[in-house]
Amino acid sequence: MAAEARLARSTPHEIRAAWMFLAPGLLTIGVFFVLPIAAGFLLSLTDFDIYSLGNLENVRVVGLRNYARLLADPLLWKAMRNTAFFLFVGGPLTLGVALAAALLLHTRVARLKGVFRTIFFTPYVTTLVAVAVVFRYLYHPRFGLIDHVLGWFGIPPIDWLGDPRWAMPAIVLLAVWKNFGYATILFVAGLQAIPESLYEAARIDGAGPVQMFRKITVPMLAPTFLFLGVMTTIGYFQFFAEPYVMTGGGGPLNATLSVGLLMYKNGFRWWNMGYAAAIAFVLFVVVLGLTAIQFRIQKRRDA
């Protein structure tokens, strides 16, 4: 409110100065963000494809027909389901593992905190493609370490990446391992920001560790949760590289086909640019919607 009142009192001179300070940022956003999105939307209204590449006369404006076709395409829904699975199973799992790791790192009795923090964080900064290649070996049904270890307990080998039922869980597992370190570091920072006095007061009132965790730690970490929730949602919703490298582009039987991958295949494999742009726009709208919901939740909590 104060800011609005201040703005009302600004002189035209001040406002011009403000615009000039904002101009570089706005220009960058305009050129690299707004323009491509607008161009992408316009592209999605055409049937730009391989023929158009040779001769621009072969482009037709098709209006919203790409979208109509897309919504009737069973592959889109399959990809949406896979993406949702990745998001709603992988996301909470990542945050859960990260929180557990952060709590362990935060306890007073923990030794070698720096070493463990580094170990947890290393997968996050490792190139995904390299990680995926190593995991492909780990998952191998005959020579893989994972099936070998399962064998000790009498569990028959699982064809992790070849079996449509297991391919998605296998990829979620990889993503959790790869990404939890980043969330762990942020959780540790959040935990350190909680005043010790709160715990002391609770202890004096006779609260147990579980109560303290539920009534102090979790509420005090709410902003961290929100930030990580938004970042994980956006990141996981666009998941692409994992199936691209691990399952040869969405196999087996499209069990790991993601929306991003579907877009890529249509765009760069079949070169149906118009259709691919429509997929991109749908993806954009969905991510925008999910983020808006999360911000609304935050606002309600702040109010």
Binding site: D47, D49, I50, Y51, L53, G54, N55, N58, R60, T127, L128, V129, P141, R142, D159, L161, G162, D163, P164, Y182, M231, I234, G235, Q238, A241, G248, G249, G251, P252, L253, F268, R269, W270, W271
Partner: protein, 440 residues
């Protein structure tokens, strides 16, 4: 998003370094640089690796040309070549899967080779298997020179067939079916006769071609899959799954097909020439004398071997290249009879040139003979840019019939509808071309 973006930037950075490294190799001042003849050749997968062993000899013969071979994995090749062309940075010479030629020719990426081929002392169309040569023609012009042949043959267990009373492999469909039933024995015991992975379009397409189906109709603008020739083939093919002669599994579900073949899970497997080498490497020594190959049996009353499709790869020169003469020289070099033989020894790829089959390792190889017999009876797949997409759809739509969720005619008419939709643009373009005055 920032996380992803950063990862992407990191990767792009890596790619840029790599590109810079490649560029610096290409731009490095060398002996060839002085006369300005650096030839960029994109080879795919294993072939791209093997060709590096053949290039030094070419460079010795042509000291003014330096060849920079860039190896690209098959899975990424198609999009790399397309983006390379769109981005104005195509190679001078590339290896193209021969089903891609119509696509790249249609967008004007390739240099027509008719004049060069006609004037060449080193090669002529007559040296090649006819079906393979034809795959390089688009709109009546030549856009590629065949490098090697890929098609399918049936690999089978001689011992298992003999036990079932078949000393010679079946040659007609009815013999084939009888042999399969005999080999498998009673159904439901976890054993099958033939391996036909449900996610592959290749086998059914062969049966369709054998029934003389054109695959596409009306100037390749509509699917012809529900018409009688293809339908007959599809009914016969799906019957193999329904009667438990072929297991309903996709290739990835199979785990290790070589192991399954060794332990008699199946006795026949329709697959490609690369498996000649794989079988030698991966089957146990005691089975090495018992596996054999034969052309896919033909329909009753038809000539044997039946038709199969002409796959493989070709050399293509890009129109934007400034080194077309040098590129053509390399094509001629790699097409030489002895070089084709050397290439076969290095890669296991079957030569597209007939004479190379009369030379040492191939001439004496009884297991490769089925492919030689088949090579005389090849027809190109439909030469439309959309073929790859159609082939994928074929496998996808047939799976419902194979899994018994739909009748064969229902799957086929769905396939035709899908194909008609894919080819809609092509119909529009052809109709527009017809309406326009002939002047253009």
């Amino acid at each position: 998003m920032a996380r992803r973006a950063r990862a992407l930037i990191a990767r792009l950075g890596g790619a840029a370094c790599l590109l810079a490294a490649v560029a610096s190799v290409a731009c490095a001042p060398g002996r060839a640089e002085e006369s300005g003849r650096v030839l960029r050749f994109w080879g795919l997968g294993r072939e791209g690796e093997v060709v590096k062993d053949l290039v030094p000899e070419f460079e010795r013969e042509n000291p003014d040309i330096r060849v920079v071979v860039q190896q690209i994995p098959w899975t990424a090749a198609h999009e790399k070549l397309l983006t390379g062309f769109v981005g104005g940075a195509p190679p001078d010479l590339a290896q193209l899967g021969n089903t891609w030629i119509p696509e790249f020719a249609a967008i004007g990426a390739l240099e027509p080779l008719d004049a060069r081929a006609a004037a060449s002392q080193a090669l002529s169309s007559g040296d090649y298997f006819e079906g393979i040569w034809k795959t390089n023609l688009f709109d009546g012009r030549l856009f590629g020179i065949p490098w090697y042949v890929d098609t399918r043959a049936m690999f089978y267990r001689r011992d298992l067939l003999e036990k079932a009373g078949w000393r010679e492999p079946p040659r007609t469909w009815s013999q084939w079916r009888a042999a399969m039933e005999k080999v498998r024995g009673p159904a439901g015991e976890g054993r099958y006769a033939i391996l036909l992975p449900t996610n592959e379009w290749e086998q059914l397409t062969i049966l369709g071609l054998q029934m003389q189906s054109p695959l596409l109709a009306d100037d390749d603008t509509r699917g012809a899959f529900s018409q009688p020739p293809f339908r007959t083939a599809a009914e016969w093919y799906v019957g193999l799954y329904r009667d438990s002669l072929a297991p309903v599994v996709s290739y990835t579900q199979l785990g290790n097909p070589y192991q399954e073949f060794s332990r008699g899970y199946v006795a026949m497997w329709i697959t490609g020439p690369w498996n000649l080498g794989e079988f030698r490497r991966r089957l146990p020594p005691e089975l090495q004398d018992t596996w054999m190959t034969t052309p896919v049996p033909a329909p009753d009353g038809a000539e044997w071997p039946g038709y199969s499709w002409a796959g493989g790869a070709s050399f293509a020169i890009f129109r934007a290249s400034k080194q077309k003469d040098a590129a053509w020289k390399l094509v001629e070099f790699l097409s030489r009879r002895q070089i084709q033989t050397r290439f076969y020894e290095l890669s296991g790829d079957l030569p597209a040139r007939r004479e190379a089959w009369d030379d040492a390792p191939l001439a004496g190889d009884v297991k490769a003979r089925a492919f030689r017999e088949q090579a005389d009876r090849l027809v190109p797949l439909p030469r439309v840019p959309e073929w790859e997409q159609i082939a994928q759809k074929l496998a996808e739509d047939m799976e419902a019939a194979i899994r018994g969720r739909e009748t064969v005619p229902a799957s086929l008419s769905r396939l035709d509808a899908d194909v008609d939709r894919i080819l809609e643009k092509r119909r529009w373009i052809l109709s527009r071309r017809r309406e326009e005055p002939r002047g253009r």
